[in-house]
Symmetry: C2
Subunit: 126 residues, 2 copies
């Protein structure tokens, strides 16, 4: 059985990671976990750099995986909103933790690709 401290030999993390991480995916989940339901256009507005195609792709994939619920009103203009399913809400804690780490590292002066200030001076000393 999978005991605490078990390695990743046959551990179930891999497929889950594939489903919830990856470019944009985690950001979408974070947005939906802090505020929902959100409409398609609202999600676009929260992530200015994403394209409609990629957002659609990610949402479809998350929906397929039972993580996100899509609700569609067939009015004109159409109104579609997204929210986490009950299963998707299992991710709340993980997303919150990730967010906290992000805030902390930012406050500590972490720079993507360069690390923390200490790392940078250590590098400069060489």
């Amino acid at each position: 059985m999978a005991t605490v401290g078990s390695s990743c030999l046959g551990c179930p993390m891999d497929p889950v990671l594939k489903a919830v991480t990856g470019r944009w995916t985690t950001t979408i989940l974070w947005n939906l976990s802090t505020e929902s339901p959100l409409r398609f256009g609202e999600l676009m507005g929260l992530m200015p750099a994403i394209s409609a195609k990629v957002l659609t792709d990610r949402l479809r994939m998350l929906e397929q995986n039972g993580i996100v619920l899509r609700t569609q009103k067939s009015t004109i203009p159409p109104e579609v909103s997204y929210e986490l399913t009950t299963h998707g809400q299992d991710l709340h804690q993980a997303l919150r933790s990730l967010h906290e780490v992000a805030l902390k590292w930012n406050a500590e002066g972490w720079v993507p690709g360069q690390g923390f200030p200490e790392d940078q001076v250590a590098r400069a000393a060489e």
Copy 2:
């Protein structure tokens, strides 16, 4: 200021996500967070499907980002071990949460690309 519940407009999650998620990266971090230090070959053994090149790439990137510490004994044969830095240990909670979700979803019959059992019967009913 970044307040709690803030969206991802200029929020610091993106670069952090890039650094800690992605194929293999999170799995490596999980292994190092449950058991360390680990040698290069031990990491390989824990992730049979990874190639040496990718493992090296990921470790270098994590090292560059100040998340993983590389310790090298210049003996023959060489012995190199990896562990999380103190900053890297900030990820413990997030990794644990992710792992718990993975175990839960697995127990609930979640299938990558198909979702949960309920989703699958709902789909079959159409």
